[in-house]
């Protein structure tokens, strides 16, 4: 019944790489530099664009030498934390998606679809509702527990059966776990209208309305997850050859999986605790990156790290620009950009790659 992975792709893989990925190191370094420039531009746009008009010339002074004026307050106290948070969360979700896809060898793996963000969300709702917690650090720890629990659960359900985990079954297991979690989250949310009012903005996933303290609180976890993920680039490459070949080359598949899962939980838990569940970013960015640089994780991971915050900040700016004077929450923009891409991947039947 669930045998998408075992279907042979319509076109042989060699043909599918119509535009040959960039192979030369020099070009790859140049691409990385270009992405870094793009990231700076996206961050600048995030600082300069918003519901309140701030003259472009006053943005930079407001960031570095705030003088207490209205413009400076808007940029320094509202947009700067938001931009920093977008950077951090983007890095976290992009890397988490890349690591997850490498670990499961599944291009459809994604923290949002596989229930990891849903588990984190449920845990946060529980601590807010049951323990009246309002400290972001408590959210973060709760989100870790929820994310880890969901990851284990989804993987257990998805990995049963002969021949290991098929991409389709993993996504469906994620849908099942997500459904249970979101029903529980909805039930808890509805217990009190006051709590509901907070949750309804949190559950769409948005960078708005978070102060600098939130960023400071989640930064250590994102940093730790980032370092861990980048260190795993080589072992993940070995894992990509399959367990047998990897072991023959001196890799430790079990250890790599455990550390990779730890990195994913750190990154997703921190990101979800900070801004709420954001879906499809972790799916789309590594997919685009692999099309660009090929399957080598030593390049996929840094490219994802830089591209994801560009996309997230751009989605955030677009959401502010499109629906001004209100705004379209970041999570909604990413869902509307990412879901069509997911459909395209499924249509092409490219679930065998990696």
């Amino acid at each position: 019944m669930l045998s998408l992975a075992r279907r042979t792709p319509r076109t042989p893989p060699a043909k599918e790489a119509a535009a040959p990925p960039v192979r030369r190191p020099a070009a790859r370094w140049a691409g990385l530099a270009a992405l870094a420039v793009l990231l700076l531009l996206a961050a600048a746009a995030s600082l300069a664009v918003g519901a309140e008009h701030v003259p472009i010339g006053k943005v930079a002074p407001a960031v570095f030498t705030p003088d207490g004026s209205r413009d400076a307050l808007i940029v320094h106290d509202l947009r700067l934390p938001r931009t920093l948070l977008g950077l951090g969360v983007g890095v976290a979700l992009g890397l988490a998606g890349a690591v997850m896809q490498a670990l499961t060898r599944n291009p459809l793996a994604e923290p949002g679809l596989l229930g990891v963000n849903g588990g984190a969300a449920l845990a946060v709702v529980i601590v807010i509702g049951a323990f009246r917690a309002d400290d972001v650090l408590v959210y973060v720890w709760a989100a870790f527990l929820g994310a880890a629990g969901a990851a284990v659960l989804v993987h257990t359900i998805g990995a049963r059966g002969r021949g290991g985990t098929s991409p389709a079954r993993l996504v469906l297991a994620g849908a099942a776990v997500n459904a249970v979690f979101s029903a529980l989250t909805a039930g808890l949310m509805l217990l009190s209208p006051r709590a509901f009012n907070g949750f309804r903005f949190w559950q769409v996933g948005t960078l708005a309305g978070r102060d600098a303290a939130v960023f400071v609180r989640v930064l250590p976890f994102i940093a730790a997850g980032t370092v861990l993920a980048l260190l795993l680039a080589r072992p993940l490459n070995a894992l990509g050859l399959g367990d047998e070949a990897g072991r023959a080359l001196g890799a430790h598949p079990g250890r790599t999986r455990a550390l990779g899962a730890l990195a994913v939980v750190l990154l997703c838990g921190a990101a979800t605790a900070a801004v709420g569940p954001i879906t499809f970013l972790g799916l789309a960015v590594p997919y685009a990156v692999r099309a660009l640089v090929g399957p080598d994780q030593r390049w996929v991971l840094p490219y994802s790290l830089l591209l994801a915050p560009v996309v997230l900040l751009a989605a955030d700016v677009a959401g502010r620009a499109v629906a001004a004077p209100g705004e379209l929450q970041t999570g909604i923009v990413t869902a509307f950009l990412g879901a069509p891409l997911f459909m395209l991947i499924v249509r092409r039947g490219r679930t065998r790659e990696l």
């Binding site: 669930l2 679809l113 849908a175 029903a183 909805a186 879906t279 509307f336 499924v346």
Partner: protein, 341 residues
């Protein structure tokens, strides 16, 4: 096992076990509905409930039962029936138990239509039903169009995965609509969005009953060609079934059922997924058993409502069916993996 009864020129094939199961499931559904009517701040014994429904008993109880609580129970039964039947239709058509309308976004799209009407245009009950129907049809058309590939047709797993993505997208849209509304309206909409039977009156139950009076007979009439479609398009065509036309008609009926149920009770999750599977296991007969699936859906929703009424805190029925149904889906995946992957 099936038996054939012939009387003159007419022959009817019937399955004793299936008929027995249908009867028992219908009894469970009716019993749960009676208990639902009896539950609340003013408890009514099952005997008094039945007495009030048939027009006897004292006036106060009669008012509580007939005017306040009966419409809720009826809405639950009818919505469950509609969801179970449409689940059987779509699962059979995609030849995949996961191709049910709540998993592939049809109920979510129907909810998006209704939410737009409730929160943005502010229409009444009829307008809400109409836009809920429109939302379901648009979603179904979009999912099928995207999943369709020339030559390959609509592949089951591809349909499910694309539907899951469509559901995620529409859920984002629903959350957005909720953030845009006033708190009180948003709270009510969120309650509705979870799938709830609270405060359902005859204003919701009657349109649903009218819609089902048309759709259920249509679905049952189409059930026979549907069973042949499951053997594969070529086999069905060889047996004289106009495959494309039957499929299109069934789509329309199935989406109509989903939309009618969603307009009345909100997007109650997982009844459409679980009911046909349970019915199939209970009757132990292959193929799409529309009637048994529908009755099982009614029983599931009525029992879920009963549970939700007796929880220590008030929860909408969708929370109960979501938790139970999600666990059931997980179990389905586990056992499917063990048999053959």
């Amino acid at each position: 096992m099936s038996r054939v009864v012939r009387a003159g020129g007419v022959s009817v094939r019937w399955e004793p076990r299936a008929a027995l199961v249908c009867g028992l499931v219908a009894l469970v559904a009716a019993g749960a509905a009676v208990l639902v009517v009896g539950s609340g701040e003013f408890p009514v014994s099952p005997a008094d409930v039945v007495r009030s429904i048939i027009g006897q008993g004292d006036q106060a109880t009669g008012f509580i039962v007939r005017t306040l609580r009966l419409p809720r129970a009826v809405t639950g039964l009818l919505a469950g029936l509609a969801l179970g039947m449409s689940g059987a239709i779509f699962q059979s058509m995609s030849r995949n138990p996961l191709g049910s309308p709540d998993l592939i976004g049809f109920t979510t799209g129907s909810a998006t239509g209704a939410l737009l009407q409730i929160l943005v245009f502010g229409g009444g009950a009829v307008a809400i039903t109409a836009s809920s129907v429109a939302g379901a049809f648009l979603t179904a058309a979009a999912v099928y169009l995207v999943a369709y590939r020339r030559g390959g047709g609509v592949h089951g797993v591809r349909l499910v995965l694309i539907g899951v993505a469509a559901a995620a997208m529409l859920e984002a849209a629903n959350s957005y609509l909720i953030t845009r509304a006033e708190l009180r309206e948003a709270y009510e909409a969120a309650f509705w969005l979870t799938g709830s039977l609270n405060g359902r009156g005859w204003a919701q139950a009657t349109p649903l009953a009218v819609a089902l009076a048309v759709l259920v007979p249509a679905a049952l009439l189409l059930a026979r060609p549907l069973g042949m479609g499951e053997m594969g398009d070529d086999a069905a065509r060889a047996l004289g079934v106009p495959v494309q036309r039957t499929r299109a008609l069934l789509m329309v009926v199935g989406v109509g059922l989903v939309a009618a149920a969603t307009a009345a009770a909100g997007p109650v999750p997982f009844v459409a997924l679980a009911a046909p599977q349970l019915a199939r296991r209970l009757t132990r007969s292959p193929g799409a058993q529309l009637l048994s699936a529908g009755l099982t859906g009614a029983a599931l929703l009525a029992c879920g409502d009963l549970i939700s009424l007796h929880l220590p805190v008030a929860m909408p029925v969708g929370v109960v069916t979501g938790v139970l149904g999600g666990a059931y889906l997980a179990w389905l995946l586990l056992t499917a993996g063990r048999r053959a992957a």
